[in-house]
Amino acid sequence: MKRTELLSRILVITGILIVLAAPIAARAIGAQGVIEVHGRIAESGGWTPSTIRVQAGMPIHLRLTSDDVMHGFAIGQSDTPAVDVLPGQVTEITLTFDKPGTYAYYCTRWCGPNHWRMRGIIEVTGEEPVSPQVTTPPLYLMLNLDIDAPHPASVTLDRIPDAQYGEQFSALLPAAYLTPDYYRSHSPAQIYLDLRADPALVSLAGSDIWDLVAYIWLSNTTPEGLAEGQRLFAQNCAACHGETGGGNGVFSANITALAGKTPANFSDPAITLGASPALLQGKILRGGMGTGMPSWGPLFTDQQTWDLVGFLYTFQFK
């Protein structure tokens, strides 16, 4: 065989190998971090895949599409804005998780009666072992609250307690009542009883004390927090609890038929004033209650749950 012939044979074989290997290599390289996620209503299976595994610090590229109706996609406890997931369209999103751990992702658009069951998990693994995170348990567990026990408040209000009006008596109020610890662990009805029994406030009438209770609530919230709470309520709670908190949202009839209980009516003073922020936060975090109340713990940040709790009292206070 001539040397030139050998060379040309090697050249041709190398060329063929390159052509064959190129698509395989491209797939192996290109597919890294690209995950196609299909959304279907919870009754037909929810998200596919329902568990996404990713390395910490590595960007993942998600191609989201819907197999039936309009869905949304968001990561729990994160600032990443929600995106819509539409049938026949691909929504692309790139995410990077810095911290190892388990994250929830969920549907943000009402896609069916079991919309809130449409959730998935993102497992982020890291090089270094996950350090046992020092997390404080939620306040309702620290206080040993039974969040399923009824908590009626036997209160009679002459008018809506007004925080602005209560501010004028704030000079009389001992500072211990204004701390977040006190506010979060006491229901407004308990605060009222505590203030009523306080010798510093004997000169005040009952309605003035209620104004002070509202003042304690308002000093533990911020306007931005209340606005965020209102946004969260409209987006996640109003469908059952009603846009005005009356427990008469568009799904309340379904829930009553299934569970025999109506969604909590926040415009009822006996319900809202008898619940401490810790109790309300516990209910939001855990859900359940035998009523199909979703558990929001994996989706809301700690601050978001407190914002939402603060907003719930606007149905009683102004």
Partner: protein, 152 residues
Amino acid sequence: MKPWFFVALFILAGAVITFAPLPVTAAAPARRTFRVEANQFAYAPAVLEVNPGDTVTIELVSTDVVHGMFLDGYGLSVTADPGQTTRMTFTANRSGSFRFRCNVTCGALHPFMVGKLQVGKNRWLWRAIGLTVLATLAILILPPNFPKAETG
């Protein structure tokens, strides 16, 4: 001579029916608010009637899944999630009848989720009925062999 008189009369009556302004004068523009409930796969109410020039507010309330409303002719659209009533306000300055349809894929029968916005009375329907009655009368009254009868 007599048939030609009738012909002139019919033509005149036809012109009146076609072009006369109807006695229903345009009502003074008003504010109208409709609460439209969207549920798979229909709007309730599905037909909205307004007068030209009205300021119309449509409150879209979804009672099951996320729905939308796209209003043909006006090119307006809103999307309503359950628990989040959305409103669209516009001036009904184009008369006629317009379809509105769901613009959020809401389920299997989503393409059939349509309703109608009727701006003003449907005058051409009544004018067409009048002209049809007139034509029927003309056939009955004019002699069968018209216009030959005139020459004969």
